[in-house]
């Protein structure tokens, strides 16, 4: 095991995701503590274009897999990451919590003989190894654990928890090809098509601000008040399970134990009671705002700011105030 830190950097058509910048910021600290370098692996269409930006964020070497990586294939991606890990022998491999890491991490951990810690909210160098903190039991407990080899640590980090900071000076960002020959056995599982949905708002799991609505919205049409506030704030829109089950919002918007985990800087819960399964998906948000008619709703226990009132009056008023403040 070496001292380098390998970041699997996600991007969209060559544009580096904010979550990748968060990883690189953490990786720089870890690499400095271990006396190693920051490496980034970037795969898929447009990967080459992402290299310069990854250098600016501190990657000394950028392993680019573009040709042969036209369409996502979990088995090929696993092979590419594991071959990079075998060649470079990093002390740790970092990924962000995302559909990609959810799909790959278990497989990569098994093949690279790595110890996997998912959804970490803290990660530091500790002696010869690393220390992590991660929520478990849907946030009802935090576990602290240390890793000291023999294999590398594979840590997935919760988005928005680690602050992305650019280094004063960019790193070399030297591009190297991540060669990984095709194997017909990779074709055992292939993505045949992709149906875009979810519109123009930011991705729920990555958004800095999330506005969520609950059962009390009463209909899909009524969710417009939520969407209007979300759009005024440039936020993603979320929902409680009760709202999703009632058909007011699609499942892709569900926040909570059986939905998505979000950790934005600002979470605004509108007409959501704050059931433990909902809290599981948003309790690590930095600031929580609750708007609810019931002053005893459990959500207020977690809220930094609360308004006791009818969301149908308060939320449009907020939208107006936000628009005014922006003007």
């Amino acid at each position: 095991m070496g001292a380098d830190i390998l970041v699997v950097a996600e991007h969209k058509d060559g544009k580096v995701k904010k979550t990748a910048c968060e990883l690189l910021t953490v990786a720089r600290t870890l690499a400095a503590a271990r006396g190693g370098k920051v490496l980034a692996a970037v795969l898929g269409p447009g990967a080459g274009q992402a290299a310069a930006e990854l250098g600016a964020w501190g990657a000394e070497t950028v392993l680019v897999g573009e040709a042969g990586f036209e369409a996502y294939a979990s088995l090929k991606w696993t092979r590419a990451i594991c071959e990079a890990a075998a060649a470079r022998r990093p002390a740790a491999i970092l990924m962000s919590v995302s559909s990609l890491s959810r799909d790959l991490a278990g497989r990569v951990a098994a093949r690279a003989q790595a110890a996997l810690a998912s959804d970490c909210t803290a990660l530091s160098a500790e002696g010869d190894g690393f220390k992590i903190v991660r929520p478990m039991l849907a946030g009802r407990a935090l576990v602290t654990a240390v890793h000291a080899g023999p294999g590398p640590l594979l840590a997935t980090l919760r988005p928005n928890v680690f602050t992305a900071e650019k280094p004063a000076a960019p790193a070399a960002g030297t591009v190297e090809a991540l060669a990984c020959a095709d194997d017909p056995r990779d074709q055992r599982v292939v993505v045949k098509s992709f149906a875009a949905g979810g519109g123009t708002r930011p991705e729920l799991t990555e958004a800095a601000v999330v506005v969520s609505g609950g059962r009390s919205l009463g209909s899909a049409d009524a969710f417009k008040v939520i969407y209007d506030l979300a759009d005024a704030l440039g936020a993603a829109a979320g929902a409680s399970r009760a709202a999703v089950d009632a058909g007011y919002a699609p499942h892709s918007m569900q926040v909570g134990q059986t939905g998505k985990t979000v950790s934005p800087v600002l979470y605004i819960a509108c007409g959501i009671s704050g059931a433990i399964q909902h809290l599981a998906g948003m309790r690590t948000s930095k600031y929580i705002v609750a708007i609810n008619t019931d002053p005893n709703a459990p959500i207020f226990k977690l809220a930094d700011y609360g308004i006791v009132g009818d969301l149908f009056e308060v939320v449009p008023a907020l939208t107006e105030e936000v628009n005014k403040a922006k003007a």
Binding site: S74, T78, S99, R102, G106, R107, V108, A109, A110, A115, L116, A117, S118, D119, K131, I132, M136, L137, A138, G139, R140, A141, L142, V143, T144, V146, H147, V189, V191, K192, S193, F194, A195, A196, G197, E206, V209, L233, H251, S252, Q257, T258, G259, I276, A280, Y287, I288, A290, L302, D304, Y305, G306, I307, V308, G309, V314, A317, L318, E321, A325
Partner: protein, 258 residues
């Protein structure tokens, strides 16, 4: 077809979990234990696949402490054919995947179903790792699953950032279940009575050829803590318009988040 399902017994979603006084352990005494909800979807999908492919059999594996028997009785009540309990109360997700892999290597399944995550350790590790150990391709968090007419492949849907993928996977394969994959059935009275007559095969990791190194935890746990308490927030008790104006001011000037 040979179909396998992996299930785990976990504290119920609402159970209050205490941390022991020394912070070294989680105290689950008196906590209601249930089958991890995603595993129920996995089990139902296995039953549906068996209904479709005549002559199929279902093997259910649960790795864990003695309580796992509860899961397996539930599985028998739903009509599965065979249950194996690997007694490994302290196995972490990776060790549990090795135990399940050891059982399933000899069973040689055409299809393996798991939940996308166990809702206690929330690692999302087990399905991918088991797929790798068994050299099976996998789909993570499938929200739909349809076998082809000849049962040689399946089509799954998976929701990811920005949309939904349609995935084709060749059997043998492993599928992890998302909520809503199906609507799990409840056991019938007859099923429950039958379950009482069935026996669970119990194995230890050692009997499966797994030594202490294979069962060692991937990371050494230093301790547990309850989520940090939140100090009381500010409640704005004013009419809607004024409250909204004040909140926006606070978010801009105090929290500095918008």
């Amino acid at each position: 077809m040979k179909i396998a399902v992996c299930v785990k017994l976990v504290p119920s979603t609402t159970a209050l979990i205490r941390v022991s006084a020394d912070g070294k352990a989680l105290d689950c005494t008196g906590v209601e234990m249930v089958m991890s909800p995603y595993d129920e979807f996995a089990l139902e999908e296995a039953l549906k696949a068996r209904d479709k492919a005549a002559g199929s059999e279902i093997l259910v594996v649960s790795v864990g402490g003695d309580g796992a028997a509860k899961n397996l009785e539930q599985a028998y009540a739903l009509g599965v054919d065979q249950c194996v309990h690997v007694k490994a109360p302290d196995a972490d997700a990776a060790a549990a995947a090795r135990c399940a892999a050891a059982v399933l290597k000899t069973f040689a399944p055409d299809l393996v179903f798991c939940g996308r995550q166990a809702i206690d350790d929330d690692q999302w590790l087990f399905p991918g790792m088991l797929g790798e150990l068994l050299d099976l391709p996998h789909v993570t968090a499938a929200s739909s699953f349809a076998l082809s007419a000849d049962n040689a492949k399946a089509e799954c849907k998976r929701r990811i950032e920005g949309g939904e993928e349609t995935i084709e996977i060749a059997l043998p394969a492993l599928i992890s279940a998302e909520k809503g994959l199906n609507d799990p059935r409840s056991p019938t009275l007859k099923g429950r009575l039958n379950a009482k007559k069935k026996t669970v095969t119990v194995k230890t990791p050692a009997e499966l050829g797994l030594d202490a190194a294979a069962m060692a935890p991937a990371l050494k746990v230093e301790g547990y803590a309850p989520p940090p308490p939140k100090s009381a927030g500010k409640v704005i008790a004013k009419p809607a318009k004024e409250a909204a104006a004040e909140l926006v001011k606070l978010l801009r000037e105090e929290a500095k988040v918008i």
